[in-house]
Amino acid sequence: MSLRWGELYSQLISGARERKELISASFELTARCNLQCKMCYVSHSVNDLKTKAKELTTAEWIRLAEEARDAGLLFLTLTGGEVFIREDFKTIYEKFMQMGFVIQIYTNGTLLTKDHVNWLASIPPSKVSITLYGASRKTYQEVTGYAEGFDKTIRAIDDLLAKGITTEIKTTVIQGTRYEFDALLDIALQRKLQLGIVNYVSPNRECSHSDPVGNRLSSQELLQYEIHMSEREQQLTAENIKDITKITDAVTEEVMPAKLDVVRLKDTPALAFPCLAGTSAAWVTWDGRLLPCGLLDIPETNPLEKGFKAAWEELKNKCTLIPVCKECQECKYQSLCEHCPARLFRETGYYDQPAPYLCELAQSRSVYKDRMKA
């Protein structure tokens, strides 16, 4: 009668994808944040009252969640900005937990007090996913502008783990964290956790203070980072420590192949998105727009006006019109490339134009691979 969790997860996901039914969504509860990360694609300052005024209210989020549940939504990610700055977060979360979702929370962890952790332990999410912006106060300051955030986040991670709450740590690779892989991995390993690596930093969606492109690694630098990662992984595998990292995408949640030579499966070539976006996954922005993915701001529909179900159907239709990039499809580096319509759009302004940054990265991965073979 019951199945193991992993099996069931992939069974549900592939069922939803086949039927083009909604199963997964992110609710971006706020665009405001207590940190000012240099690469952030979304955040506004906590005290930005104009932004605050446009955020959906408690009642609106609750209504949307109910409607999304009735449209099939099961896996719900709560993200921001920083969700813990919403004064009504507790109310919203407790309501959502009564609706029949499997919920995970994305947070920077800095605002998670012992009280929050005790409360979460009494009604735990399936996972708390914390982004750790450095392995020291110095780096944390450099990336987020808030040195003490480092201690606070580490304390939050340890409190969550002590309470038995499933916790994940990940980091987003930018100039400031470029040399921190080993130290971050140590933090993870000391706690018997994997380290998630967000390797792709996307150009801005709507953040006023940040500069993602100016702060991300060049394709060569990123390749060096990945090489270092896989060398370190090999070392640890030799010591029988396995599955220590995963390359992940903080926006679409897609887990990328950790090794450079794994080919991505493209089982639905007719649809431009390689992931679930626009077929079985969606994103609701802080001000109530329904999008296929958080990197994009079009196509969008309006769930508050039309009702969630109708807005979702409309969005799915719009997504079928998104063109596939022919050049990418025919490219010999395609298996080493993490292109998708959202990334191409953010990089080039078109869904179907190759993005030089991604091309360079794929090419340099290929050169490296060939060199290794030789």
Binding site: S2, W5, L12, R19, V102, I123, S126
Partner: protein, 87 residues
């Protein structure tokens, strides 16, 4: 017997699953899947029902003999009892 409060039966992508609600996640970690007939029994058990009621429902819905229906119902009830889902 009756399903305890705090669980929701949902049909997700053609598959029946039971999701724990609120504080119930503490004792019931993860989600559980049910077959079509399991989901039918679950729905009946959301209101009060006896084993005989369940057998009756199964016989109405499926063309099987009474003995098989009784065995199936007993098995189903023992599984959800073991998982502490009914009282």
């Amino acid at each position: 017997m009756k399903i305890r409060d705090g669980f929701m039966l949902r049909e997700i992508a053609g598959q029946w699953v039971v999701v724990p609600l609120g504080e119930k996640v503490v004792e019931f970690n993860g989600i559980m899947t049910l077959s079509q007939s399991g989901a039918l029994l679950w729905q009946v058990l959301e209101k009060n029902a006896s084993e005989e009621d369940l057998v009756e429902v199964i016989l109405k819905e499926y063309t099987i003999d009474k003995e098989t229906a009784e065995t199936d119902v007993r098995e189903f009830v023992s599984i959800i009892r073991e998982k502490n889902l009914i009282n």
